[in-house]
Amino acid sequence: MDHVWVRNYIERYLEYHNCLFLERGPGHTQVKLSVEVDKDLTNRPYYWTFVERTGTEPETLTMNFIFDQEKVDSNLRGEVVSFGSERLKQFFNAAKSHGKAVRLYQQSTSRNLGYNSRKIPHATKLNPWIGVNYKVELLCDKKKDLLFSLGMNLSNGQLQTAFFPKLKKINLTPVLPANTVTSPPFITFREAALQLEEYLLNEIHNQDFTWAIAAYERLDQEIQQVEAYYVNQQKQSENKSAVFQKQGVVDVEKDKRVAEISWLYSPRIEVKPINYGVFYLDETVLKNVEYLN
């Protein structure tokens, strides 16, 4: 199961970045990387500087990714990629940095169009939406993530939850389609962001906070232990009367430890966008999105 997911993910990434697939076996894929992917994955900064300086034709690497070792010929030399491998993490990070901000238009279909009396189709009118995929991290010495996908209509302030899954069902294109007009945003991005954050704040306040209360209790216990430890150390060095650490030094060290512990254990919440975009959609598409596809 896992290898299916990993393979699918990596092959899509490579495809969307115009890599050349040389060979596809039941357990592996051989691919010649595109320049961009090569730069991201293979860690050859000197080579690429060299290419730029001398203007030589770049030679990208070819890689063999192995997804299912059992289905691969034992002679095949390649790199096993699976959950937990560094390489997969690299792909994730590359996707996150190359998939941050989009601007897309709803693709027109003949269904949308109406005709005027001269049989010339009306222009499709699209409204701007802002969409943000948020990650809300509940943090202490443990963590929990909440994912939210929110959208806001910048013409009328209408808020939409579970925005992204709906968007995935719509035909979207990065190029303004023919015969389409867009209305300018009425609400600014900043104003919209504030509204989305209000929504999130509300959602957060509705959460159960026993985790945070428990975290504070653990923090207290840990600090007590540290305090006890340093008192003990002090006693021991007094007993030994050998090297007597100055009170100041011990305190500094202790304070440092307490600060470290407080930082690690103190409950806090971080709200971050995963990615975001501007989406031009017509008035009805979101209502009808269930019927698409």
């Binding site: 969307y16 792909f91 998939g99 963590k143 991005f189 209360i213 003990n232 919440i269 975001y276």
Partner: protein
Amino acid sequence: MNQVLTKVHSVNLRKNTVPINFDQAWIHDLQLAFSQDGPWDNWEVFQLAHEAEELLQVKDFEQLQCLDHLPNLTPFPHQISTAKRVLNEMHGRAILADEVGLGKTIEAGLIIKEYLIRGLAKKILVLVPASLVLQWTRELSQKFAIPAVAQKKEWMWDKYDIIVASMDTSKRNPHRQHIMNQHYDLLIVDEAHKLKNQKTKNWEFINSIKKKYVLLLTATPLQNDITELYNLVTILKPGQLGRYSSFQKEHMKDKRSPRDKHLLQQEIEKVMIRNRRSDKNIEIDFPKRIVHTIPIELTPDERELYLGITNFVKKHYYTFKGDIQNVLALITLQREVCSSRDAAFITLINMFKKSGGSEELKNQILKLVQIAKKVEVQSKANAIIELIKKIDDKVIIFTEYRATQEFLISKLTENGFSSVPYRGGFNRGKKDWMMELFQKKKQVMVATEAGGEGINLQFCNQIINYDMPWNPMRVEQRIGRVHRLGQERDVNIYNLSTKDTIEEHILYLLHEKIQMFENVIGSLETILEKLDFSEFENNIFELIVQTDDQNELREQLMQVGEQFSKEISTNS
């Protein structure tokens, strides 16, 4: 350009607040891209980014985040729940005391990885027996993708964050000094039962190390000596069980028995996890042991040598009794003659050299040497060739004697079987190499050293005991190299037994009797470790020497067997 890049709110709890931080830097980036009409990212890649986040989402606080980061490992449920308990209930300070074969190393690895991923540990020290350093380093690296390094040079203490080192090396200077100067986030100690006594250097060393989280790994049950338990717990949580005097008063009736077993049990469970093979939640299917006894008929020449030596030994036992060296030589000789002519031969020569002035002694030894030289055919060796042909698979042959080992290797080569030696004297690197050769290329391993840990041969399921140690613990250790977690097949054990010799008695009465006991991986090894075998061999030898009548000898040995059976059941 006065941007608000973050915004802070908070949630008010009764006594504290939880700050909420909103990252807002993206708003400006979006505005910029929008006003400049780009650059925009690809929609498909945008979706890939979101999918990655969905995959990596930590859905609940108690979830082990590390499970998504293990390249080659699917842990057993009991291992996962152990890791969770240590993290969530015991706050990273615990004794892992699973029975042998349940994968304590894996549990430790999960805990290390989880702390690493959560950012709760950066500087980690793993102290293990010297023979296990490489193995630990490899396992952590391959199964958990933990960048652990085996400590070799002094400069490594400060340079590397995650170090695996030998306990014995570490507690001595200059290494000790480096360790004392660090603050470790996590300390792992394998074979922690060595810390059971507060007065030892080991205990004092571990106790002095500055550490936040501690894991003590041990296979011994610890229920037999409460003071030992107290000492271990004190390392984890100084003060947890109170001062020793009050602990003693409150919990202990005498050194071994608690006042209230349940109460003590409760206290212990707060800091110790002990999974047992018999637990219902253990999903591991343990393979069986199948013991085959191969009786060997001695040739007339071999029989002559055996009798000659046995008589010699009996005759001189009382003469040598005061002299430990010589008595040992006698015992060895008696056992070697059942192993191989070569082994006996060498001991005889040595005895001859050390025989001092006694002419009579010298002559007797010479006579035995002559008889030994006459032995051409070695029945056991022939039998083993036939056996290996029949087995037609990888085999480990165990012998006590180096001379036998060398003889076997050449005999195997003569008969077209590829083999590798394995000895205690090999250094770590050579041991690893021999193991790898055995695994990948050669059919037979002839080993004298079995007691050393670090030799894992679960890929092999055929053992031949060419000669039998008289100490059941040693036998169990041999078998334990193969019959352990990771072994997928039933283990076949072939015991060669020379008929009408002392070996036959020993084999039948002692070993098979004890073997019949529990047929489960490793439990015997742990139990046997607790029994005292130091006088054992001497006692058996005296019995042999004193008892002429074979039947009476059998009786006596049977009693010894009974006694040990009893001790085993009390200790399991």
